[in-house]
Symmetry: C2
Subunit: 591 residues, 2 copies
C-alpha cells in the first residue's frame, strides 16, 4: 500500500524562506506568519494523510457507478467529502461574503498540493466547484451570486464545467449544444456534453453545471457561444431545491485513471439554464475559469510526482538488493538498500529536484495571482498569464514522466496495482490532456502569450532573470546556479528571437517548435526558482543553527537540477531552430 | 476501437533494401527472396489483423481469472492460440528436428513484430515458450530435448521462466527456492516464485516451467543456483501426461497492463524437477534465454509504439478540429483534420521516425544473431551482445514515450479505454521493467559490455559508423544524414572515453551516467540505421520507377530523426560528463 506524508516543511520553506510572505506588500500576506501557515498546513496534512490518502487506492479499484440514473462514488468518499466540507477547506481563499475565509490564493494552492497528492480524484469534486465559483464570482449577477455561491462555497452544492462535445474538443466553434430563449428570460439548453469531471455524484445535494451553448443570433464559430448556469435541481427563490432539471447522466466513461471521479456524458434535454455574463461572450467567461484551472492542473502534475517520489524514496531506502560497488553499506544484511546504486539515485534526484522546483514555481505563480487580484497589479497579471501555459504544460508533462520514473524504482512491483505506483502514473496522465491538451498550451504560449502587450511580459521575465544574476554574481556560492541559469536563459532568448524573426513570415516555424519552447521556458523557470531557493537556503544557514541538513539538502538538490535537467535547454533550442521543414515535409497521405 | 494494419511494406524494405538478405552470405538467407518473405509476412499479417488484434481490447478488459486453482484466459484466446499453433508460427525459426521450419531468427523477429503489435498479451504465451525452448536447446540433454521440445515447438505445451521471488528481483543471489536431490537423480523443488508471465492458462495441455533454485553445495550468492525443468504435469517415458506435479498458482497479479497474460505467483511444494545443464551453473543457462528474450522485449517496445502510431495517424487524418494557420485544407468541411497542425505532425513524426528506425535497428540486431549462430561469427556475437541492452533499454523507454505521445494525439479520447490508446501505453510500460529493468540494462552495457573483450566490440561499432560515413561522404544527398551522425558518434566516443578515464578510479561516475549512455548509444544506432535506410531509399529511387512516394517518405522521415531526435546525444553527454558528484551528494537520510 502506498503512503503519503505531506511536505509541510518544504511548503514552509517556499512560503517563508523563498517568497517571504510575512513581509510582502500583498494585502493579506502580512497575517500569514509562520505559526499561522504551519497550523493550516498541519491541519491539511492530517486530513490528507488520515482521511483522503487511505481512500486513494480503494477508490481507484472500485470506481464510480451509474445505477438508475444515479452516480455512486466509491466507499468512504462521502464521509471524506463531509470532512473536507466541515473543515471549510473549499472556502479557504473565497470571499467572506459568501462564507469563505478570504485567505490568499497562495495558501489555497499550498493546501491544494496536499489534497491532490493525497487523493486527486476526490479532490477534483472540490476543485471543479472552486472553478465554477470563480466564474460566477467574475461574471454572475448579484442575484446569481446570492443564490448559488453560499451553497457552493460550503460544498452543499458542487460545480462542473461543460465545454466538450463528441465532435468538438479544442475547437469549440464546432459546438452544437443549443440555448433557446424563453419568455421568462431563462433558456432551454439541449445537447450532449462529454468528459464532464465530477458530472454527478452522491455527495452533495445539488450540482451546478456551467454549460457553454449557442444562443441564436451570435454568428458562426465561437462568437455565438454563451455561458449558462444549469442546476441539477432547480432552485426556488428562497434557495430551496425544486424539480429535477432536464439534465441527466448518459454514462460514466471508463478511463485510464482518476476512476473515483465520475467523468460523465451529460445529456441536456431542454434543461432550464440561466445566462451568466453577457450573451455571446461565453468564451471570455469560460477563460476566466480556465486560467486558474490550468494552474490547478499544473499543480496536479507535480503533486502526483510528489507523492510518487515520496513512495519511491521510502522503497529505495527499504528494499535490499545488490551491493554498493564502492563497498557494502549494509554489511550485516543480505544486501544493501536500493538507494546505494547510482542509477537509482539518479531517478530519485530527478524526481526530487523536479518536484521541489515545480512546487516553488507554482507557488510563485500563485503569489503573482494574489498580486494581480489584490493589488490590481497589471504586470503581475501579464506575467502569470504568460507563465500559465508553462505551469500547466511543462509541469504535467514532467510530472507524468517523474511518476513513471518513481514507478520504475519499484522494478516489477511498480507494475502491480497493489503497490499504488501505477495509479499515480495513470492519474497524472490526464493532467497532460484536460483543461487544454499540452500542445494547446504550447500554442497559447507561442501564438498568444509571447507577443501579448508587444512582448512586454516575456521581456519582464528576462529582466527578472537578468537582475537576479546581476545582483548575485559576486556570491561565489551561487556560481553553480548562476552560470547554468545564464546559459539556459540565453537559449530561451535565442528561441524567442527565432520565433520573432521567422514567426511572422512562416508561422509553422514557430508552431513546429511550440512544445519545445514550452519545455525550454519551463526549465528556465525551474532554474530560476532553484537559484533563488539556493540563495534562500544559504541565508537560512547563515542565520540559523538548526535544520542545517535540510538547507544543505536543498542546495544539493538544486545543484542536481542545474547539472542534469537544465542542459536540456540546448536540445530544445536545437529542435526549435531546425524549424518546420522536416516537420511539414511529408504529405498527409504518406503518414 | 483501435485497428491494426501490419507494416508489411516497411518490413520488406528493411529485409530487402536495407539488409539485402537474399544476397547475404548467412546460411539460409539466400532462400529468402522477396516472394517468399512477402508470403510469410502477408500470412502473419492476416493472423495478426483478423484474429489476434480483435481480441486485444477485449482481453485487456476481461483479464485472466483464477478459479479453483485453474487459470482461465479471456474469451476467444484459446481459439486464437489454436490458430497460431495450427499455422506452426512458433516453430518458424526452430530446428526441423523438433518440428520447426529452421528459418532465420530474423524472419521470426519480423513476424514477431506483427504479432506483438496485434496482441502483446496473447503473443507472450508463445514468446515465453520460445525462450524456454532456447534454453532447453542450448543446455538440455538429448533425452530432455526429445521429451519436451517437439511438444513445445508445436505449442501443445507452453513454457515459462521462473527467476523472481518476493524479496529477490535483480539480485538473484538472495534466492531462497531450494532443490533437494533425490535418489532417482531428480530434485524436489520448494519455494515461491512471482511475476511468472504465462505461468498457467487453459490453452495448452501442459506447462513446462524453467525454475532457478539453489541445490546444496553450490556456495553462497548466485554460485549455488541451478536451473530445473518442472512440468505442470509429469511426463511419462512415452511422452504421455502423468500426475499433476507439486506446483500451483497462488494468485494472478492485478497489473497496470497485459491483463490478458496471466502473471502468476507460483508455489513449488516439493515439486519434481529435473536439472538442466550443469549443477550450480544455472545463471549461465538462464542468461542464454535472457539475451534473446531481451531483444524480444526491445521489439515489444517499438511494436507497441508501431500500433499506437498506426492509430494516431489514422485519427489525425480523420478528426476535424481547428484550421491550418496557413490556409484551410478542408474548406468545405467544418474544420481541417488534426494533421494540418504542426504540433500534431511533430508528435506523429516523432513516432514514425522512431518506429521505423527501431524496426531497422532490431532487425539488424536479429541478423547479427543469425550470423553469430549460423556462421559461428564471433564478431557478430560480440556486437549483438553489446547492442542487446541498447535494444532492450532504449527501445522500450522510447517506445513507451511514443505510446504516450500517440495517446496525446487523441486529446481527451486518448484517456478513455474504449479508444484503446491507454492500453498500448499500459502494455508497453512492462517492457521497461521485465527481463531486467532498464537501469539494469544500462548497468550491463556500461559495467560489462563496453569493456568486454578489451572493448573490441564497441571499437568495431565505431568502425562501422566511421566506414559508412567515409564511404558515402561524397554523396551530397546524404549530407543531412552524415553530418549529424558524425556529431552524434563523436558524443558517444567522448562518453565512452569519459567512462574509461574515470570509471576505474571512480566507478560511480560511470554508473551515474549509465542510463544516459544507453540512450546516447541508442540514438547513434538509430542515426546509423537511418543513414543506411536513406542510402537504400536513394538507391531504390534510382533503380525503380514505382513506389517513389514510399522511398521519398522514407528519406523525409529519416531527415526528421536526424534533425529532431539525434541532437539529444549532446544532452546525454553533458549529463554523463557532469559525473556522479551531484547524483551522490545527498546522504540517504536526506532524501
Amino acid at each position: 500500500m502506498p503512503s503519503y506524508t505531506a511536505p509541510t516543511k518544504d511548503l514552509h520553506f517556499v512560503l517563508h524562506d523563498l517568497l517571504q510572505i510575512s513581509t510582502s506588500d500583498v494585502p493579506g500576506y502580512a497575517d500569514l506568519d509562520a505559526d499561522f501557515t504551519s497550523a493550516i498546513l498541519e491541519e491539511a496534512a492530517k486530513l490528507g494523510q488520515n482521511v483522503m490518502a487511505p481512500l486513494n487506492a480503494s477508490g481507484d479499484a472500485e470506481g464510480c457507478r451509474l445505477e438508475n440514473g444515479m452516480v455512486y462514488t466509491p466507499k468512504g468518499f462521502k464521509h471524506a467529502f463531509d470532512q473536507i466540507k466541515a473543515g471549510g477547506w473549499n472556502g479557504l481563499d473565497l470571499p467572506e461574503d459568501f462564507g469563505g475565509q478570504n485567505l490568499p490564493y497562495l495558501i489555497g494552492s499550498a493546501v491544494g498540493e496536499i489534497f491532490v497528492s493525497a487523493n486527486m480524484a476526490l479532490n477534483m469534486y472540490q476543485g471543479l466547484t472552486h472553478g465554477a465559483i470563480s466564474a460566477i464570482l467574475a461574471h454572475g449577477s448579484d442575484a446569481q451570486k446570492a443564490t448559488y455561491l453560499p451553497k457552493m462555497v460550503s460544498m452543499d452544492w458542487t460545480g462542473t464545467m461543460n465545454l466538450t462535445e463528441p465532435h468538438c474538443g479544442t475547437d469549440l466553434g464546432l459546438m452544437r449544444t443549443k440555448a433557446e430563449p424563453q419568455a421568462d428570460g431563462s433558456y432551454k439548453i439541449t445537447g450532449q456534453k462529454i468528459f464532464i469531471s465530477a458530472g454527478d455524484h452522491d455527495m452533495a445535494e445539488n450540482v451546478i453545471h456551467l454549460v457553454l451553448a449557442k444562443a441564436p443570433g451570435g454568428g458562426a464559430g465561437t462568437k455565438g457561444i454563451s455561458l449558462f448556469i444549469v442546476p441539477k435541481f432547480l432552485v426556488g427563490e428562497d434557495g430551496s431545491l425544486g424539480a429535477r432539471n432536464g439534465v441527466s447522466v448518459g454514462s460514466i466513461e471508463e478511463k485510464m485513471g482518476i476512476h473515483a471521479n465520475a467523468t460523465c456524458v451529460m445529456n441536456y434535454d431542454a434543461a432550464t439554464g440561466y445566462l451568466i455574463g453577457d450573451l455571446h461572450k461565453g468564451m471570455r467567461a469560460m477563460f476566466t475559469m480556465m486560467n486558474e484551472a490550468r494552474i490547478g492542473v499544473g499543480l496536479q502534475g507535480y503533486a502526483q510526482a510528489a507523492v510518487a517520489y515520496d513512495n519511491a524514496r521510502a522503497y529505495a531506502l527499504d528494499r535490499l538488493q545488490g551491493r554498493d560497488v564502492t563497498g557494502a553499506k549494509n554489511p550485516d544484511g543480505p544486501a544493501d538498500p536500493l538507494i546505494v546504486h547510482p542509477d537509482v539515485r539518479r531517478m530519485l534526484m530527478d524526481q526530487k529536484s523536479f518536484v521541489e522546483g515545480a512546487r516553488a514555481f507554482t507557488l510563485w505563480g500563485a503569489s503573482l495571482i494574489d498580486r494581480a487580484h489584490r493589488m490590481q497589479d497589471k504586470d503581475a497579471d501579464g506575467l502569470i498569464s504568460l507563465l500559465t501555459p508553462v505551469i500547466k504544460g511543462f509541469l504535467t508533462d514532467k510530472g507524468f514522466d517523474m511518476c513513471i520514473q518513481a514507478q520504475q524504482v519499484y522494478g516489477g512491483h511498480g507494475y502491480i496495482e497493489e503497490w499504488g505506483m501505477s495509479q499515480f502514473a495513470r492519474d497524472a496522465r490526464i493532467a497532460m490532456i484536460y483543461e487544454g491538451a499540452n500542445g494547446v498550451q504550447a500554442l497559447d504560449l507561442v501564438g498568444r502569450k509571447l507577443a501579448q502587450d508587444s512582448g512586454k511580459h516575456v521581456m519582464a521575465f528576462f529582466e527578472i532573470v537578468k537582475t537576479f544574476i546581476k545582483e548575485n554574481e559576486n556570491d561565489a556560492r551561487l556560481e553553480g546556479f548562476l552560470v547554468p541559469l545564464k546559459a539556459a536563459s540565453k537559449d530561451l532568448q535565442a528561441a524567442a528571437m527565432f520565433f520573432m524573426q521567422r514567426g511572422m513570415k512562416a508561422p509553422n516555424d514557430a508552431l513546429a517548435g511550440s512544445t519545445d519552447f514550452m519545455h525550454l521556458f519551463g526549465h528556465v523557470c525551474l532554474g530560476l526558482v532553484w537559484a533563488r531557493m539556493a540563495k534562500a537556503a544559504y541565508a537560512a544557514l547563515e542565520s540559523s543553527t538548526s535544520d542545517r541538513d535540510f538547507y544543505d539538502a536543498k542546495i544539493a538538490t538544486g545543484r542536481y537540477y542545474m547539472a542534469r535537467h537544465l542542459p536540456a535547454t540546448a536540445l530544445h533550442l536545437a529542435r526549435i531552430q531546425s524549424g518546420a521543414e522536416t516537420v511539414m515535409a511529408l504529405d498527409a497521405a504518406h503518414f
